[in-house]
Every structure is written in structure tokens, then in C-alpha cells.
Symmetry: C2
Subunit: 167 residues, 2 copies
DNA sequence: CTTTGTACCATCCGATTCGGAGCGTTGTCA
DNA sequence: TGACAACGCTCCGAATCGGATGGTACAAAG
């Protein structure tokens, strides 16, 4: 079975969490990795089972209460994740920005800019807030680096749209 | 029928080209809009027919040779495009960057950076080259603006990965 | 001790999207 | 005139998507 980015996200989240239910994966995904790789929640329920079939993840049921499924990495899973992290090459990024689409086809820059500015300012503020919370903690080097990337790009967006807004 | 981003891309490309075959749409898409909104080529064959059904586009067959289908905007199509360009609000961007995924989950920044640097430097050079070719021409304000956005972001990437590469 | 409300949690499925396999066509060069 | 490459298009199985749906635990209200 071929491993997709979704697979690695599940493996990666499990490596952080140790053990998690799909619901917890969903929570862990949104707000962190979710910013630069979205995964529909239904996948976060389906994917772990596929990984179990591939032997990369193991599952146990909670004894009591909801009897939820809790997943964790197997040795093979840890290894698959490590291998993936070690290959330097990655496919190019994908990027889909409706606002640029409008600009490209001739929309009035000023009016597109206004609504974009709001969005990007908000996102920038959110990222900077997350950053503060992350700073003290150990083991967050990866997330911190990606967050910095996000912050730098949001700054560029804010500058860009500010310019187009005529301010 | 609901219009998707793909629909507007076809409408927009047709508004630039006047009349085009799917193959020409494909060529017009890749290398321009393609940078920030990818569309599989099969869609560029299917979508125009959907738009014909919706009355936004008209089709005629070439008389000779390959008898290819050539599409162009109807008045309704032009109007639909104009309306879309006029609404200021747009859904948020989507962004999928495998390299950040690896970084997030703990890959060695230095080795990811090396291959990323190459990619982004290449893309930056390409964009700057396109920019030169675009500068003189009238009616390219939209494309030029989006190109500038692309260039600024590529610069940020080059800086970012340079830093992580340890240089 | 029942009812009600509300988070929490999970699954399913129809609809869309994807991208590559495959194939006819045109033109060109030997 | 045969072979080959580039052009141009279609089709279809597979993957993805996300919304609709429905069940469960728990607490507060009555």
C-alpha cells in the first residue's frame, strides 16, 4: 500500500501523541498541521484503519465508556515515519488562492484587498499568539519552524494587500 | 448549476483569449494561473461543455482539419465573470506544502532546506523572467499583480530555506 | 429520578475530482 | 510510403471530499 501525505500526518500525529483516538487526531490536526495541509475529518477516521492493515499502527479498544478505538505506532510505523523524514526530496507545494484568481482576471485590486487584509491580519495575530505559547516548551522545534514560515508569509500578505488597498 | 473555481478559470481564460480550444486553454492555464490554481487537464476538456449547458459559453466546430471544438463566451458568460470579479469576498486560500509537513514532524531542517532552496530559486528566476516579458504589454495588470505576489513569496521562501540550510 | 440539552464521537455515502492510460491525428523526415 | 514524434482528446477506475446523519456520555434542570 502506498503511503500518502495523509498517512504521514496520521503517523506523525501519533508519534507526538503516543496514543490517540481519531477524534483526538482531528483536534491535533486542526490548528497545527491543518494550516498547511488540510485533511477532511472523515479521512482521520478511515486512515488509521488502513495503517493498521499495513501493520504500521496498532489499535486497541477502550475497556469502558465509549469503547473508542485508540491507535498507536508500531515499530514498523515508527520506521516508516523516520524513513520519510529522512528523504530530503519532496514534491512541490500546492497553492490555491481564490483572491489571486480574481486579481489575475481583472478584479479591482482595492476591493479584493480590503477583505483579504482582514483575513490575513487575523491569521497573523493567531499565529503570533500560538508562537508565544509554544516558545517555552521542549520538543516543539518542528512546529515552531513551520509556524515561523507561516508568520513570514502572512506578513508578506499583509504588506501586499495593504499596498493594493491603497494604504 | 453551481460555478466552481474551475468554471471561472475557464471563463476568465476565454475572456482573455476570445476563442479557444481546450488544448489552448490547457496551454494558457499552465504557466500562468496554473501557479496558484492547478486544474487537471481533463477538467479543461469537460468544463467548457458544462458551461455550454449552462449557457455561459458557446461552441463551434472548426470546419477543416481536426474539426476541433472552439469555445467562446456568451453575453451571459461575460456577465457571470463580471459578477464574480465584483464580489469582494473570497474563500480562504488553501496551501499544501509537503516540505513543511516534514519539518513539522521533526525532519532535519538542513537537509530539507537544500532541496527546497533549489526549487524555490528556480521558481523565482522563472517568475522574474516572465515579469520582464509582461512589463511592456497592455492588459496584463492582473497577471502582473499576481506575479508580483508570487515573486515576493518566493523571496521569502528563499530567505527562509537559506537560513535553515545554515547559510 | 426522569427529562432535556449539549458537547462529544463516529460512520456512511453520493458527488466530485483526479490523473494517467490509451488512442486517433497531423506533420515531418528518411 | 513508412516510421516516428508531437499534438489533441477522451475515458474511466480510484481516491477524495465533506456534509448528512445518528448514536453516546454526562450534567444540569425540573
Amino acid at each position: 500500500m502506498a503511503l500518502t501525505p495523509t498517512s504521514y500526518i496520521v503517523l506523525g500525529l501519533l508519534s507526538f501523541a503516543g496514543e490517540a483516538t481519531p477524534y483526538e487526531l482531528k483536534a491535533g490536526h486542526s490548528g497545527s498541521v491543518g494550516s498547511f495541509w488540510s485533511v477532511p475529518h472523515s479521512q482521520l477516521y478511515a486512515e488509521p484503519d488502513r495503517l493498521v492493515a499495513a501493520g504500521l499502527v496498532s489499535m486497541r479498544r477502550e475497556e469502558d465508556g465509549r469503547r473508542r478505538k485508540r491507535y498507536s505506532l508500531t515499530d514498523a510505523g515508527r520506521e516508516a515515519l523516520r524513513d520519510w523524514l529522512a528523504e530530503p526530496g519532496t514534491p512541490p507545494a500546492e497553492f490555491r488562492e481564490p483572491a489571486l484568481l480574481k486579481l489575475f482576471f481583472g478584479a479591482d485590486p482595492g476591493s479584493v484587498a480590503a477583505s483579504q487584509l482582514e483575513q490575513h491580519r487575523g491569521r497573523l495575530a493567531r499565529y503570533e499568539q500560538i508562537r508565544v505559547g509554544l516558545l517555552g516548551q521542549p520538543g516543539t522545534e518542528g512546529p515552531l519552524l513551520t509556524l515561523d514560515a507561516g508568520i513570514e508569509h502572512e506578513r508578506v500578505w499583509v504588506d501586499y494587500w495593504t499596498r493594493l488597498a491603497g494604504g
